[in-house]
C-alpha cells in the first residue's frame, strides 16, 4: 500500500519535471501525459482492490478510509478524463491563441497541471491536519500559476484576487488549526500532534469554547477556499479566466478537496460543540451563497462566469446537506460532490469549446448553436440539464435528498426558500442556454470543434453521472463506499 501511494504521488512529479525540462517535443508530451494519468488511475484501482470499503489504511503520515477514497475517486476520475481530453483542447488553443506565441508553454502547462493534481491527491492521502493545511495552501499557489496561465491583463487581475483572498483565508484556517492544537495540548498532551485519527477518537476531551473558536476560524478559512459567500469574490474571476480545463478541475476537484478538509475538521469538533451550532453556522453561509448566486446567474453575459455562479449554488447545497448532519443528507452531499464534479468538468470543457468556436465569451453574441455546431449544442444542453438537477442525472437524486432531509428535519421555511432559489437558478440558466442554442446565427462559428478525440470521454462522464444517480444500488462497491463514508462523517470513528 505504501509503495502504491508513493507511486501515485511520484509519477506525476516525475512527469512534471520531464515536462518543464523542455527536452521532449509537444507530441511526446501529449502521449506521455495520457500514459502517466492512466497509470495513476491503474494504481488507484489496485489500491481499491487491496482495501475494502469498511477497512482503513493507517501509517505514520498517510491515512485512507472510505471518505478519503470517495473523494480520491472523484479527483482521479477527473484527472484521467482531463488528461485524455487535454490534447485536443491544447491543439485547438494552439491553432488560434496565446499558446503559439511562446514555444515552451505546453510543457509548462503540463508540469503545472500534474503538480496541481499531485497536491490535491496529497491532501486526500495525508493523516495530519497541519499537513493537510500545507497541502491546501500548496494547491492554491500552484493553481494560481495555472489561473494566470494566459498572462493577459484580466487573467492577472483574477489571479491577484484569487491568491490574496485565498491566502488570507487559508492563514485564518492555520490560526484555527493552531488553536485546535492548543486545545489538544491542554487535553491530551503533545502525543500525536494534530493527527486526525487521534483527534477524532478523543474529540470529546477537547475544551468546548476553545474548539468552537478554532472551528470558526477553520470554517472561515476553508470556506474561503470552497467559495462560500461573502468570501467568494475570487471565485467567478478565477474560474472565468483560467484555461477551461483548469476551470473544470478548480470547480470539480479543488473545491471538493477543500470541502473534504472542512469535513475532516467537522468530524473532530462535532462531539464537543454539537450539531445545533453547526447547523446555524452552515445554513447562514450556505443560503447566503445560493441567494447571491441567483441574481448574478440571471443577468450574466459571460458563459464561464455563469458556470462559476452555478458552482457557488451547488457548493451552497452541499453545505446545507452537511449542516443538516443526518446520514441521508450527508450521503446526498457526498453524492452531490461526485456528480457536480463530473458534470462541471464536462460543462467547463464544453464552454471552452464554445469560446473557441465563436471566439467570444459573451453569450449575448452566440445564437443558433443547434444549426452551426450540433455536437457542442447537444452536449451543452445535456450538461446544463444535468447541472440543473433534472432526472435521470445524478444531481437530481442528491438535490432531492438534501431538500427532502430539510423538510424531514422540520425546516419547512428553509426548504421552500431553497426550492424557490433553485427555481431562480433554473430559469436564469435555461434562459441563457436556450438563447444560445436557438435562433438564427448572427455570428459565424468556425466549425463544430468537438470530434471523436474528446466526445467519448464527455459522454462517459455524463453517463457516469446517470449511473451514479439511478443505478447506485446496482453498483455494490460504490454503494457501500458511499454508505461507509457518510457513516464516518455522521457517526465518527470507533476503532
Amino acid at each position: 500500500m505504501q509503495t502504491l501511494i508513493y507511486g501515485m504521488l511520484g509519477l506525476p512529479f516525475v512527469f512534471a519535471l520531464i515536462a518543464i525540462s523542455g527536452f521532449f517535443s509537444n507530441r511526446a508530451l501529449h502521449i506521455l501525459n495520457r500514459i502517466i494519468a492512466t497509470i495513476v488511475g491503474g494504481i488507484f484501482v489496485e489500491m481499491l482492490m487491496q482495501i475494502s470499503p469498511g477497512e482503513v489504511f493507517n501509517s505514520e503520515y498517510f491515512y485512507l478510509d472510505a471518505l478519503s477514497i470517495w473523494v480520491l475517486l472523484i479527483v482521479i476520475v477527473l484527472y484521467v478524463a482531463s488528461a485524455w481530453v487535454s490534447k485536443s483542447y491544447l491543439v485547438r488553443e494552439h491553432k488560434m491563441g496565446y499558446l503559439s506565441r511562446t514555444p515552451k508553454l505546453i510543457g509548462r502547462y503540463y508540469a503545472l497541471y500534474h503538480m496541481f493534481v499531485l497536491t490535491m491527491m496529497l491532501v486526500l492521502l495525508l493523516k495530519n491536519l497541519g499537513l493537510m493545511w500545507v497541502g491546501i495552501e500548496a494547491t492554491t499557489l500552484i493553481s494560481a500559476l495555472l489561473v494566470s496561465f494566459k498572462f493577459t491583463r484580466s487573467a492577472l487581475e483574477a489571479t491577484w484576487k484569487y491568491i490574496m483572498v485565498c491566502t488570507v483565508g487559508i492563514c485564518l484556517a492555520l490560526l484555527g488549526t493552531m488553536i485546535l492544537y492548543y486545545a489538544q495540548l491542554t487535553a491530551t498532551g503533545t502525543e500525536k500532534a494534530l493527527s486526525w485519527l487521534w483527534l477524532s477518537q478523543h474529540g470529546d476531551l477537547l475544551n468546548p469554547s476553545l474548539t468552537k473558536l478554532a472551528f470558526l476560524f477553520i470554517f472561515i478559512g476553508y470556506g474561503t477556499k470552497v467559495g462560500l459567500a461573502p468570501m467568494h469574490t475570487w471565485l467567478p474571476d478565477a474560474y472565468s479566466e483560467a484555461p477551461s480545463l483548469i476551470s473544470g478541475l478548480l470547480s470539480g476537484a479543488l473545491c471538493t478537496c477543500s470541502l473534504y478538509v472542512l469535513i475532516r475538521n467537522l468530524i473532530i469538533v462535532i462531539p464537543t460543540i454539537g450539531t445545533a451550532f453547526i447547523m446555524d453556522l452552515f445554513f447562514v453561509f450556505a443560503f447566503l451563497t445560493i441567494a447571491i448566486a441567483v441574481p448574478f446567474v440571471v443577468v450574466q453575459r459571460d458563459i464561464k462566469r455563469l458556470l462559476a455562479y452555478s458552482s457557488m449554488e451547488n457548493i451552497g447545497i452541499m453545505i446545507v446537506g452537511l449542516g443538516i448532519f443526518s446520514s441521508i443528507s450527508v450521503g446526498a452531499t457526498l453524492l452531490h460532490m461526485f456528480n457536480h464534479a463530473l458534470i462541471k468538468f464536462v460543462l467547463f470543457y464544453i464552454a471552452g469549446t464554445v469560446i473557441q468556436e465563436y471566439q467570444t465569451k459573451n453569450m449575448m453574441r452566440i445564437h443558433g448553436m443547434v444549426q452551426e455546431a450540433p455536437h457542442t449544442a447537444t452536449f451543452l444542453l445535456m450538461g446544463m440539464f444535468a447541472i440543473l438537477g433534472m432526472p435521470p442525472f445524478g444531481l437530481f437524486f442528491s438535490k432531492f435528498n438534501i431538500i427532502f432531509s430539510l423538510f424531514k428535519n422540520g425546516q419547512y421555511l428553509l426548504g421552500s426558500l431553497m426550492i424557490f432559489l433553485l427555481a431562480g437558478i433554473l430559469i436564469g440558466i435555461l434562459y441563457h442556454v436556450m438563447r444560445m442554442l436557438c435562433g438564427r446565427a448572427k455570428r459565424k462559428a468556425y466549425a463544430d470543434l468537438l470530434d471523436h478525440t474528446d466526445t467519448p470521454f464527455l459522454a462517459v462522464l455524463l453517463i457516469g453521472s446517470i449511473a451514479l444517480g439511478m443505478g447506485l444500488e446496482r453498483i455494490p462497491y460504490l454503494n457501500s463506499l458511499l454508505l461507509e463514508a457518510s457513516q464516518i462523517v455522521v457517526g465518527g470513528v470507533h476503532l
Binding site: L141, T167, M178
Partner: protein
Amino acid sequence: MEQLVMVLLFVAFLQNRIMDLRKAVACLCLQSAIIAGACLISGLANGNGLHSVLPGLLTILVKVCLIPYALFRLVGKLTDERELVADINTNYSTALSAFFLMLSYVLVDKMLPGIGDRDIMASSMGLILIGLVLIVMRSRAIMQIIGLMTMENGIYLLGLAMTEGLPTVIELGIFFDVLVAVLVLVILTNRLNVSFMTTDTNVLRRLKG
C-alpha cells in the same frame, strides 16, 4: 521577551507610516528578525538540541534572508518606488491599527482568560490585524505582500506563544509554503509591471458581476 514584543509592535506601527517601498521591505525584514529572535529565545528556554532551535534558524533563513532578498530585487526592477495612496491614508491605517491592538487585548481577555503570555498573545493577534489593515489600505502590490507577511508573522508568533511551536514536519511545510507564496507573488507582481506598466492594484477592476 516582553521587550522584544514592545519593539515588535513599534516596528509594526512603523510599517504603517512608511511609504517608500525599499524602506518598507527593510522594515519587514526587521520585523521577521524580531520574530526569529523570539523563536530562538523560546527554543533555547525549552532546550532540547537542534529540534528546538530549528524553527528559529529557518525563520532567519526564509523570512530574514530569502524573502526580503526577493522583494528587494523586485523593487529594484520597478521605476517608481513609492506607495501611491494619499498621505492621509497613513493616519487612518495607524489609527485603525491602534484600535485593533486594543481590540485584540479585549479579545484575549475575553476568550482565553488567565492565559500566561497575555502580552505576547495580544500583540501577535494585533500583528495579524495590522497585516489585514495593510492589505486593505495599501494599493501597491508589494505593500500588500508585506501585509500578508505581517499577518503570517503574527500567526506564527501566536502559535509560538500558545503551543511552543507546531511539530517540526508541519513547521517545515509552512515555511516552504510561505516561501513559494512569496515567489509566486513576486512573479505576478513582475507580470503586473510588464502588462500594466504599474504595480498599483487599483487598476485591477475590470472583472465584475
